[in-house]
Amino acid sequence: MAFGKRDGLAVEILPERANWAGPLIEVRELSVQFPTEDGTVKAVDNLSFEIRPNEVLGIVGESGSGKSVTSLAIMGLLPKSANITGEILFCGQNLLAMSERQLQDLRGRRLAMIFQDSLAALNPVYTVGWQISEAIELHQELDKAALKDRVIELLNIVGIPNPKARADQYPHEYSGGMRQRAMIAMSIANDPDVLIADEPTTALDVTIQAQVLDTLERVESKTSSAVVLITHDLGVVAGVTQRVMVMYAGRSAEIGSVNEVFYEPCHPYTQGLLASLPRIDRRTSERLHRIAGQPPSLVHVPPGCPFNPRCPMAETPGICDQERPPLIEIAPHHWSACHFAERLISEVKDRQYGQ
């Protein structure tokens, strides 16, 4: 029934997840540039990070940080005009060197992605169950009974009640939150190694957002997929992720565990971001802390550290506008790209222990 079944070419050259020790995805010095009529947009600039098996990684950044472009680069979904350098190793194989056919093999099977406007991606004339089984059949051979069982199992994982009955319903019979869950079910149908969720909750009402985040947590606990959650909402990241990468101007500013990034931030941008958030759980203070200036132009990125024009502790002229700060490990598995990271981390720890 499935049209154009994949022939498993690329899947064969990759080791199975269980046989692979080490990070699932290693992004090494990734750079993505786009030519535009105003100049070259450096959307991603020498970015390096990794995605580990079965973890939930949050990629946080504002508009222009490069977080979406990064995920599209991993999936191989960037337009042809994009100029991409660097490596993206998936179980040791470089995704950027693969052909489109090999990538199509991987998409849906080992690498999956859900987007912000997933609602529009559900076909109204087919039942939800049919659409999920179609996603499965593209990559696997299952008999009818096994297929049905798998569909119900998937609906269960994402928390849709009465999965047996719901599988035979059409998308319009689902509520908004349930449709989002159905989309997630489709994306994990083949038990991918990595599920990338690009701003899955951004346009949603907060109560629906809660449903979707709940679903992602269930996916994380009931499957062995790694989940990459891309968002600008720090609250979302705090509740769902285990590790966080903060991006700014196409580079990573800070990478660490979620507790480290939120309680011991050692990059001025992270600190500024956290301090500028109004809190639902605190009495109103006088004024919000703010980060001066505007997000940078990606065509004319400030020299040295891209955050230097807005940084309260920048040394300009000095090292901050001359040298790009390297990503250094200031504590085990906690990296920061700031020339003064060491100073910041000791200040943060002093504050903590001082209390």
Binding site: G177, T207, H232, A238, R279, D281, I291
Partner: protein, 388 residues
């Protein structure tokens, strides 16, 4: 993983065992028996009548739904269904709710950008809905609006000078020192006056919002309706604009109707907060009071759904998951509109309480004697629950 989740759809959650009767109502003021009067009295406990610059009473807006061959009205979208609130001078009322609750419509009704179906709006003693053309023109100088979308709210073909000065030109006030006033406004909102001859596309999102604010202030209004003014901005820019709004309020003595869905920003900037659901206000209180002692199940669910940027806290909080979508405003549920998704009612039912009153009688916004809840709540079974 959350330690404490209430998810009626999954059929879990602790069932309440004690039988809770409907909460005793605080006896009314004797103003009259009508629902609107009762609600007005409740609102008056938060905003005293003599300090109010805007008083809205039982405001209703229905959008007709046409259908059939002859295109006659077959139904109505009940966007706003009897909303009562007041805003005190120099203060901010935050109006929160999710999409479709009617908060944006309410904002536009206050400005009479839409015609109301019924109800009353009183601005400084003037009846807005029945004002004549000339009175309305005068009113337009005193109530202004700032929009959400920094891209769509400025005419891309007009210079900043033209945009900011347009209200003045419309009212014939530009001749005398209008140019200076525009420069003054630009400085007031933190922009460089030399940039007045530029076009909107040359500015960033946060700067465009500031231009919109400058325009709104150009006629020296007393009340600003702000419809999601920071929702479309990056987080690092939001703080700047929010601070600006607060400073302007202090400096110019403005009152704000702050419409938003971001509960954190609303808590920060508001003095009084009203929560809307499906065209009705379900709870109203001073900001801190509402967030610390919410009484309505919807408010509680809403707040519990807002993620807090604090990992440990966020994972240990009580989480309430609301099932499904909000019902259609064309055909809202009878009685309490929230009852079809109300987790509290579910718990009461499981515990043996008879909740048929929820379907039969519409709960009014009133003060109810319940725990620490001393502000108006529209729920028959008000019960406080701390969720932040």
């Amino acid at each position: 993983m959350a330690s404490d989740t209430i998810d009626p759809a999954a059929g879990d959650g602790p069932a309440e065992t004690e039988v809770t009767p409907p909460i005793d109502l605080v006896p009314g003021d004797g103003d009259g028996d009508t629902a609107a009067a009762v609600e007005a009295a409740a609102v008056a406990t938060l905003v005293r009548e003599d300090t109010a610059i805007l008083r809205v009473n039982d405001l209703v807006k229905n959008f007709p739904v046409t259908g059939g061959l002859l295109r006659r009205q077959v139904g109505a979208v009940q966007a706003v269904s009897g909303v009562t609130f007041s805003i005190a001078r120099h203060q901010t009322l935050g109006l929160v709710g999710e999409s479709g609750c009617g908060k944006s419509t309410t904002g536009r009704l206050v400005l009479r950008l839409l015609a109301a179906t019924s109800g009353s709006i009183e601005f400084d003693g003037i009846d807005v809905l029945r004002a004549s053309g000339r009175e309305m023109r005068a009113l337009r100088r005193r109530i202004q609006i700032v929009f959400q979308d920094p891209f769509a709210s400025l005419n891309p073909r007009m210079t900043v000078d033209a945009i900011v000065s347009e209200p003045m030109r419309i009212h014939g006030l530009y001749k005398n020192g209008g140019k200076d006033r525009v420069r003054e406004l630009m400085e007031l909102v933190g922009l460089k006056p030399e940039h007045v001859n530029r076009f909107p596309h040359e500015f960033s999102g946060g700067q465009r919002q500031r231009i919109g604010i400058a325009r709104a202030l150009s006629l020296d209004p007393e009340l600003l309706v702000l419809d999601e003014p920071v929702s479309a901005l990056d987080v690092s820019i939001q703080a700047g604009v929010v601070n600006l709004l607060e400073e302007l309020q202090d400096e110019l003595g403005l009152a704000y109707l702050f419409i938003a869905h971001d509960l954190a920003v609303v808590r920060h900037i508001s003095d009084v907060v009203a929560v809307m659901y499906l065209g009705k206000i379900v709870e109203m209180a001073s900001a801190d009071d509402l967030y610390e002692h919410p009484g309505h199940p919807y408010t509680q669910a809403l707040m519990s759904a807002v993620p807090v940027p604090d990992p440990i806290k966020q994972r240990e909080r009580l989480r309430i998951i609301l099932p499904g979508d909000p019902p259609s405003p064309v055909d809202p549920p009878s009685g309490c509109r929230f009852r079809t998704r109300c987790w509290h009612r579910q718990q009461l039912e499981d515990g043996g309480t008879d909740t048929s009153i929820c379907a039969e009688e519409e709960p009014l916004l009133q003060i109810r004697r319940a725990d620490d809840v001393e502000h108006p709540v529209a729920c028959h079974f008000t019960r406080e629950r701390a969720v932040v």
